[in-house]
Structure formats: C-alpha cells, structure tokens
C-alpha cells in the first residue's frame, strides 16, 4: 500500500520551506548519524545556514546498550560551536519510537544547555513510545510495527526512501 514512497528530495525541500521562516542566524542544525546527517546536510545547504553543521552519534547514549552492545562503527560526534543558550534544530531521517531522539537530547545536554531544541524528521512513521513529536515532518504516515522505513544514499549522493 506504500508501494511508492514520495521522493526524498521533494520531502526535504518541503521540510526546508516549513523550517525557513523559523530559522534564526544563531540556529545550529544537528544531524543524527547516519541518515539524519544526510538530511541535515541538504537542509543546511537549502537554508543557507550561517552556522556550521553539527553531527551526533548517539551510540554512547542508547538505552538498549546492555542488550545489544556497542555499535561496531561509532562515529565521533561533532558539535562545532558552543551549545550554551543556542537554538538547535535536531534532524533525523525517520521518527519511530522516539528513543533515538531522547538519546540525542541527553547527549546535547552533556555539551551545554541549549536555549531550545526543535525536531525535524523526514518521515514520522508513528509507533511512538515516548512523548516526543516532531516540530517539522516531511511526511507523516502510519506504518505497521513489523515494517521499516529506510533511507539510503546512492553513490551519486541521491537519497531514496524504501519500505521493507
């Protein structure tokens, strides 16, 4: 029934349009590894953001660490500016349980105390397990629990959404 998901680039453009009026010059865009960083890179370019792009790997903050262990490919988080008092736009590809976003917020607070954090996701697929909702979503759909929405990047940098 979701045989053809919308084009990811169209969704990113839609997200950028929604975010643009709310963006202040000091806003820091932070993407969550890996898919969130791809989306954040596009938004950062489209919105001509004045601040450098931040990236977050939440592996050290996951709540399922003691069950599944450390992800073998942890990437360093990179927050290039001071977070104290800053407006942050947190970006992820797919919002599902909300646990990744919780972990990301915990990590952000270990760098400083931001003035605000807003959440932008490419797809809000439902199935939330925490009181976390996006401020901006490119697409809102309901996907059964046993299915996953996956964002992938081709060699030429093209982003595509798939359902499996």
């Amino acid at each position: 029934m979701h045989a053809s998901l919308p084009d990811a680039n169209t969704l990113i453009a839609r997200l950028a349009d929604a975010i643009a009026p709310t963006l202040t010059p000091d806003t820091l865009i932070v993407g969550i590894h890996t898919g969130g960083v791809w989306v954040a890179e596009r938004l950062h370019a489209l919105l001509q953001c004045a601040q450098p792009l931040g990236t977050l790997d939440i592996s050290f903050y996951r709540d399922d660490f003691s069950r599944i262990g450390l992800h073998p490919q942890v990437k360093p988080s990179n927050l290039p500016v001071d977070l104290e008092g800053r407006a942050i736009l947190l970006v992820d590809d797919v919002l599902h349980s909300g646990r990744t976003v919780r972990a990301a917020m915990n990590e952000l607070f270990d760098y400083g105390r931001p003035a605000s954090i807003r959440l932008a996701v490419l797809v809000d697929r439902g199935g939330h397990e925490l009181p976390i909702r996006p401020d901006f979503a490119g697409l809102t759909i309901t996907v059964p629990d046993h299915q996953n929405i996956h964002l992938s990047r081709l060699d030429d940098g093209h982003l595509t959404l798939s359902l499996a």
Partner: protein, 317 residues
C-alpha cells in the same frame, strides 16, 4: 582456545593481544577515536556503563595504569572501586579466588586485574560467572594488552597507517610484558618491520620467532625507524648480573638526541612510563619535539573506555 571472545566473535575478556583478531583490535582503536572528544566536553561523561560496578584489583602497585582505568570507568558513568590488595587481605592470607568470589557477591560486573604473576588474569577469567568480564592490566612478564592497544592508537594517530612502518622497541624486552603486547599488536596490524634493540642479557632467547629483527647495536637498529619505543629499565634488574651500571646502560642503549637523529626525521618517540631519565632516555628526548609520551597517557583513557564499553556491551553484562 580463545577465551577472550564469545561464540559469535565479540570481546568477552581482554587478557592478551596474542591471537586477538585484527578486526577486534581495529574496532577498539576506532571506538577509542570516538571517545576522544568526550574528554574535551563540558560534561566529560557518557552514560553507557551507568549502574555497572567495576573493581580495580591491583595485586601489584601501579599509579598511572590504575588511575587511567579509574578515569575511563568514571567517564563511562560506572561505579569504580579500587582495591590495592597487596596491602589488604592478601597479607591476611586470603586466596585470590576467595577475594574474587567476595567481590562477585557484591555484584561486580568487571574486574581490572594487575598481578605480578603471569596468567593471573586468565585464572580469574576462567573462574568468574558468565556475566563478569576481566581485563588484564598487566600480569608478570606476560602481557599488558591495554598498554599495547594505546601504543597502537598513538602510532595510528601520528603515522596514520601501519603497513609502511619500521618500529623499534628498545631496552629490557626480557622482563617486559609491554613489549610482548606491542609485538603481537604490531605484527597483527601488519607492520612490515618490527625491531627489538637491547643487550643480549635483556632480550629473550628465540625472540626472533615472534617475527622481529634483533639488534644489539642501537645505532644500527634505529636507522630509518618511524617509531622508537623505549622500555623502562627496572631498577631491580641492575642489581643482578645482567647489567654493569645505569651509566653504562645509558651509554649504549639510552636514547639521546644524537642517536635519535639516526631514525627518520619525523620519527616519534614513545615510552610506557614511568621513565628513568638518564638511564633509558635523555631528558632532551623525553621532553623534545619528537616525544609523544604525554599524548600516550591521554590516549590511554580513550582506549580503556573503548575496551570497557565493548566488554560491557557484549550482551552478557
């Protein structure tokens, strides 16, 4: 045979670098890389090991190693208990496994073990319940795997790659667990030329079988090296018949600026500490521009965080 790994090939204990697969060593180094920035943040902690209890079991005194393990565990949010057992229950004659059982009954999740007997950490690892991990923090002359790993991390940070390096290990290889761990790691990571340099009395017989080239002449051994690793000369070794005097040793095997000049101009100098200045290394070199001895200490924290995080996340903790 490989007690260090789980059935599915993940790290279960860290006891030795001998036989540890290259993929695991690389994973530890990569994970350590991502822990590097935690030490520079506002809050120098991540919550990975929250609620875990780590016991530093030091049957042999050590300040630096114990401290870096303690800091590493605390940066992972674990609770750390330090036991200097040389000065507590061992003197009352308590057997090592009784000590371990008692601490396990206090719900320990991990033991960091330093002992003067080779094999002590293996012995404890064989004995503990499945959910407890053991890290060897130095056993006799056998192994000091986290030191070996932090040395590899240091080399990778300064040199980038391993496949094009010539590395010299200089000094008392015979009594050095650090040297053994370094040699295993360097060969596993594909360093094409590992040299050991020292007097005959301080090199183990048959060391060539570990895949190293042996030099008794330091000048010849240093020529063209990318990395020079100095080993600590244990003072007690000089009391025996192995060496005439500290001055004599320094003359032949002490690293001076003149001798270092024989290595490549961009060669780095490493030392596991604590240094004997004027015995195995001159102060001009130890404090000189090619020395990476203090970065080694800093990197040791990130590397130990990586090891502890990987162990605690094996799924059995």
């Amino acid at each position: 045979m490989n007690r260090q790994l789980t059935q599915d090939g993940r790290l279960r204990h860290l006891l030795t670098l001998d036989g540890l697969p290259r993929a695991i060593i690389t994973q530890i180094l990569d994970t350590a890389e991502s822990f590097m920035d935690v030490g520079e943040r506002e809050v120098k902690k991540v919550p990975l090991l929250r609620g875990k209890s780590i016991f530093n079991l030091f049957f042999e005194p050590s300040t630096r190693t114990r401290t870096t393990f303690e800091i590493a565990a605390k940066r992972l949010s674990a609770d750390v208990v330090n036991l200097n057992i040389a000065t507590s229950s061992q003197t009352k004659g308590e057997a090592i496994l009784d000590t371990v059982d008692n601490l396990a009954a206090m719900h320990a999740d991990m033991f960091i073990v330093r002992h003067s007997q080779s094999g002590a950490a293996h012995f404890i690892a064989q004995h503990v319940a499945p959910h407890i991990s053991v890290v060897n923090a130095g056993d006799g002359r056998h192994a000091h795997p986290t030191q070996g790993l932090l040395d590899m991390f240091t080399i990778r940070r300064f040199k980038g790659e391993f496949h094009n390096l010539t590395v010299a290990i200089v000094g008392d290889v015979l009594h050095s667990r650090v040297a053994r761990s370094q040699i295993h790691a360097l060969t596993t990571l594909g360093v094409p030329e590992v040299r050991v340099i020292g007097p005959k009395t301080l090199l183990p017989t048959g060391v060539e079988q570990m895949g190293v080239k042996v030099f008794h002449d330091m000048e010849a051994g240093l020529r063209g090296c990318d990395v020079v690793i100095m080993l600590r000369l244990q003072n007690e070794r000089m009391k025996g018949a192995r060496l005439p005097s500290a001055q004599e040793y320094f003359k032949f095997f002490g690293l001076t600026p003149e001798k270092l000049a024989l290595a490549k101009p961009d060669a780095i100098v490493m030392h596991p500490g604590p240094m004997n200045r004027g015995v195995e290394i001159a102060s001009e070199v130890a404090d000189g521009p090619q020395s990476v001895i203090l970065p080694q200490v800093t990197y040791g924290i990130a590397v130990r965080m990586a090891v502890m995080a990987m162990l605690a996340g094996t799924g059995n903790a």
